[in-house]
């Protein structure tokens, strides 16, 4: 593997727990900085869009949220695969830690998408291929969360969730293309978001900075949740005892 870094040293919760705290704090501050800069660019530097006026500024959270919702599902499937392949406890914990944040971003993408659609196309909900696929992705997240909630034994919950996540990630492209095909078949009945505003450079920069901001936020939130999961699941082990005592 890469030089020097022994990944397996950090693959056990005991050694990853303190590291996760440092990472979470670091990425948390990075997230705040990037979001602040992104919002400043978005609101104070990016010009008014000639077609859509000011409503297009929703793009600065809609697109990052949509990208994060998809990206987190892929990362979740990655950890799920690792968990099944190497049987490491930490991979399962990471997958469980990722799901709620992913579901939140999917909901945000849908919420901001519909609020953006109303002034632009006159309806709260547009059966556009991307928005519809986003809705189905939200169902996939809820399926994963519901399955894990229904299983008491953490080990089975991780492995069953992993199978579902992997089956889901295989189906996401199939769902997207079938929805896109369905959308073009019924072109008359629905409007698609293809007419995205032509992006002035400052708009693009603002959006990309916000993407990083959301990404760092996700890492921080997921690591915080992973730490909680580690403590909950390994509370009887001696390494957890010391942290439970000191509250570090």
């Amino acid at each position: 593997m890469s030089s020097g870094i022994n990944w397996f040293k950090f693959s056990s919760p005991a050694s990853f727990y303190p590291l996760a705290k440092k990472l979470a704090v670091g990425f948390g501050t990075l997230a705040v900085v990037f979001c602040a800069v992104g919002l400043y660019i978005g609101f104070f530097m990016a010009p008014t869009d000639h077609q859509q006026g000011e409503s297009y500024r929703i793009i600065f959270i809609h697109v990052p949220a949509a990208w994060m919702s998809m990206f987190i599902y892929l990362v979740m499937a990655f950890w799920a695969g690792m968990g099944l392949a190497f049987n490491t406890r930490l991979s399962g914990m990471m997958a469980s830690a990722l799901a709620p944040t992913g579901a939140m971003f999917t909901f945000i993408a849908l919420w901001t998408g519909s609020l953006w659609g109303k002034p632009t196309w006159g309806t709260w909900w547009v059966w556009d291929a991307r928005l519809t696929s986003e809705l189905i992705l939200l169902f996939l997240y809820f399926g994963f969360l519901a399955l894990q909630a229904a299983i008491d034994d953490p080990r089975r919950a991780d492995r069953a969730g992993a199978v579902l996540a992997l089956v889901g990630v295989v189906n996401v492209p199939i769902i997207y293309f079938s929805v896109k095909w369905w959308n073009t078949l019924h072109q008359g009945a629905s409007v698609s978001l293809s007419s995205a505003p032509t992006m002035a450079t400052t708009m693009l920069i603002g959006m990309l900075v916000m993407v990083f901001g959301f990404w760092f936020y996700s890492i921080a939130a997921v690591l915080m949740r992973a730490r909680c999961i580690m403590l909950e699941r390994e509370r009887n082990s001696e390494w957890a005892a010391q942290y439970l005592e000191s509250g570090a």
Binding site: N87, D152, D153, P154, R233, E234, R235, N236
Partner: protein, 209 residues
């Protein structure tokens, strides 16, 4: 030859047992003893490969059973707590299915004689739901009469719900199977002596806290 090497089993966060080592050769009988909740059934399920060990490994002729998979399962006969009997099927049909899953076809005549050996030959064509709990256990155990080729039997509480006569029959079947050079692992709360050359015993002690 069945081998357990530094075997560890956890259920949820609790460790049922760890560092368990034993070696069981053909012609030997192993009894797993221990209080309720001490992990007897979990150990048997580990030995079958139904449960993945938290630590250590189970080997059959030196090869990890998780890698042997169907090869190992083809040789194993496992009878668990549940009788694996379908209420809507007759005793004979149930037995035929059990043997088919084990990987060998059985002629109708052999089914009848196996059931006779367990003393329930008469109810061969009656749906299993009308049988008593003891009779259903006999139907499950009748599979042993058709498994003389199998080098390893793993039996979880085989004597439950059996009357004295049935216990003798099963005891005798186990003894003669071990005498044939096969290995048998079983758990029971019935204190009884099965006449075999080598009888080993592992006590898992009290329930894991």
């Amino acid at each position: 030859m069945l081998e357990a090497i530094d075997l560890q089993c956890t259920r949820g966060e609790r460790t049922l047992f760890s560092g368990l080592d034993f070696r069981l050769r053909g012609g030997e009988l192993l009894r797993i003893a221990g209080a309720n909740g001490s992990g007897k059934t979990s150990l048997l399920r580990l030995l079958c490969g139904l449960l993945a060990p938290a630590g250590g490994s189970v080997r059959w002729h030196g090869e990890d059973i998780r890698r042997l998979r169907e090869e190992y399962w083809g040789r194993l006969v496992y009878i668990g707590h549940a009788n694996a009997i379908k209420d809507d099927l007759t005793a004979a049909e149930n037995l035929a299915i059990a043997c088919a899953l084990g990987g060998h076809r059985v002629a109708a005549g052999a089914l009848r004689s196996a059931l006779d050996q367990l003393g329930i030959g008469g109810s061969e064509h009656r749906p299993a739901r009308v049988l008593s709990q003891g009779q259903r256990r006999r139907v499950a155990l009748a599979r042993l009469a058709l498994s003389e080729h199998s080098p390893l039997w793993i039996l979880d509480e085989p004597f439950t719900a059996l009357d004295a006569r049935a216990v003798d029959i099963v005891q005798e079947m186990i003894a003669s199977h071990v005498a044939r050079g096969a290995a048998v692992v079983y758990t029971t709360h019935v204190e009884l002596e099965i006449a075999v050359a080598v009888a080993l015993r592992i006590d898992l002690g009290a329930a894991a806290v």
